[in-house]
């Protein structure tokens, strides 16, 4: 029973982690909480559905199509809603982010209506047994896909030139530009990466719960944001850890009979962790410049 819940929690948590990575990478570079990130995830899920229903794609086509659409959307979002405010106060960009979030929700409500849409079945509901644990095919696919995407992200950030530039920019913005790094393209790239991961998360969750709706990004976005803060905002391993931690805790809470308070678990955990470690699990102590 316990092992079973761990598998369920890991499945949910790896999706939280995928979304949380977008929050944390963007924050790492421009210190902005991209509140429209949950909507990118939602639009990713819708694109996934349309890839299947309109273009007749399978699992891979669905997820890759959603990633491409969301990369474009994320980059456009940064260009139009955040870049013009780069030199304004951080509050202005934050308000712009909330505005973009409300705009995207309502645009999708207008287009698709408020009713959830089912995700056409592209993965059969085979169930595998490992000892006493049951794992569905879709769970397995979520775990494997998330792991592959996170490994890929890790590789890009560690070894690819533009990934290194992302790290440099997040450590010292001005000095990064003194190296000849084009900060604007690094920021665009960061939004592209984050949006691609969120899109994948959206498609995976859409398949898992067989439901996609215009407001699905609100709660998922908030929880992933909690996961990012929990792990230490700005830290990539932190977002992965925070997401997994949150997913497992939530599933355990539900299994323990707290299903009424399911959504409260994430926020309660966030408060508890921040009380004891204000910078999050893997966050670095804030250094104030003299």
């Amino acid at each position: 029973m316990f092992e079973q819940q761990i598998i369920n929690g890991l499945t949910l948590g790896s999706v939280y982690a995928l979304i949380a990575l977008g929050y944390t990478m963007v924050y790492g570079i421009i210190q902005l909480i991209n509140f429209a990130h949950g909507e990118i995830y939602m639009i990713g899920a819708f694109t996934g559905v349309m890839m299947v229903t309109v273009l007749g794609q399978g699992f891979f086509g669905s997820i890759i199509g959603a990633m491409i659409v969301c990369i474009i959307l994320g980059v456009l979002l940064e260009r139009t809603a955040y870049r013009p405010l780069r030199k304004s106060t951080r509050l202005a960009a934050l308000i712009s982010a909330i505005g973009a979030s409300i705009f995207l929700q309502n645009a999708m409500l207008l287009w698709k209506g408020p009713q959830p849409v089912g995700f056409p079945q592209v993965i059969n509901d085979a169930i595998y047994h490992i000892g006493s644990i049951e794992i569905t095919k879709i769970q397995l696919i979520i775990l494997v896909t998330s792991a592959v995407l996170m490994a890929l992200l890790n590789y890009i950030v560690k070894y690819v030139k533009i990934g290194k530039a992302m790290r440099a920019a997040s450590q010292d913005y001005d000095t990064a530009s003194l190296m000849g790094i084009n900060i604007n393209s690094v920021i665009s790239f960061t939004f592209a990466l984050g949006s691609a991961l969120a899109a994948a998360g959206g498609v995976l969750v859409g398949m898992y719960f067989n439901s996609v709706a215009p407001l699905m990004g609100v709660m998922a976005g908030l929880k992933a944001f909690c996961a990012a803060v929990l792990g230490g905002i700005g830290s990539i391993p932190g977002a992965m850890l925070g997401g997994i931690f949150l997913g497992v805790a939530e599933t355990m809470g539900v299994a323990a009979g707290l299903s009424t308070y399911k959504d409260a678990i994430a926020f309660t955990l966030l408060i508890i962790v921040l009380l004891f470690k204000p910078t999050g699990l893997l966050g670095k102590p804030i250094q104030r410049k003299v």
Partner: protein, 236 residues
């Protein structure tokens, strides 16, 4: 003239940092910009590198107007800066820091050559190439910041307070290295509070006081100038 600064005005909000300075640097020179804290020395370098846009004035370099270019284009044009306080990327390794220095270059084989010559100049960096830059000592970080700027293979190197916070022995070593870098063909603009050291290696110097150039001339002459000796060399 390689670099020509003309009537440069820079303000931070209501505070005026530079009120119309003009100076120039010839190819192959070491030029020092000396002056007290807050005189506008760092502001001048940050404006040349494009981190700050001036309110008025222009900077010409090889026929280009730099004030219209973003920082990365200025690095590409051949001007790199060793910023004040070293500003190495603390959570990246020494090697990665050096790679960032060569960011605008695509010629892999030649980058390798540059890396070799940086390691030859700073053997300590090679010993510590896998170490995180944040764990280096102050002197090593200064060497890394200089090596990193050299990786761009610049025509002009801007150095902001390279002696800051270093032990006298190290300061001497760093200044010897600056001189050596200059002798291999890099033009240098040096900003320093340590006027004595700066004047000892420079060809020419400008003295900045609250956003204005108040004196200029050959470095050896300025070193003997009564006003400079009193104000910046701490002699009576």
């Amino acid at each position: 003239m390689l670099l020509e600064i003309k009537d440069l005005h820079v303000s931070y909000g209501a505070i005026r940092a530079l009120s119309g300075i003009s100076f120039n640097i010839n190819k192959g020179e070491i030029v020092a910009l000396i002056g007290a804290n807050g005189a506008g020395k760092s502001t001048t370098l940050r404006t040349i590198s494009g981190l700050i846009k001036p309110a008025k004035g222009s900077i010409f370099y090889k026929g280009m107007e730099l004030t219209k270019l973003p920082p990365h284009k200025i690095v590409e044009a051949g001007i790199s800066q060793v910023p004040e306080g070293r500003r190495v990327f603390p959570d990246m390794t020494v090697m990665e820091n050096l790679e960032m220095g060569a960011y605008t270059r695509k010629d892999k084989a030649e980058i390798k050559e540059s890396l070799k010559s940086v390691f030859k100049r700073f053997p300590r960096l090679e010993e510590r190439k896998c170490q995180l830059a944040g764990t280096l000592s102050g002197g090593e970080q200064q060497m890394l910041a200089m090596g990193r700027a050299l990786m761009a293979r610049p025509d002009v190197m801007l150095l902001d307070e390279p002696s800051m916070g270093l032990a006298p022995m190290l300061v001497k070593e760093i200044f010897n290295i600056i001189k050596d870098i200059n002798q291999t063909g890099t033009t240098i603009l040096l900003v320093e509070q340590n006027a004595h050291m700066a004047l000892s290696i420079s060809d020419r110097a400008y003295v900045l006081e609250t956003g204005n150039i108040v004196l200029s001339g050959r470095a050896d002459e300025l070193a003997h100038n009564e006003q400079v000796r009193k104000a910046y060399l701490g002699e009576d």
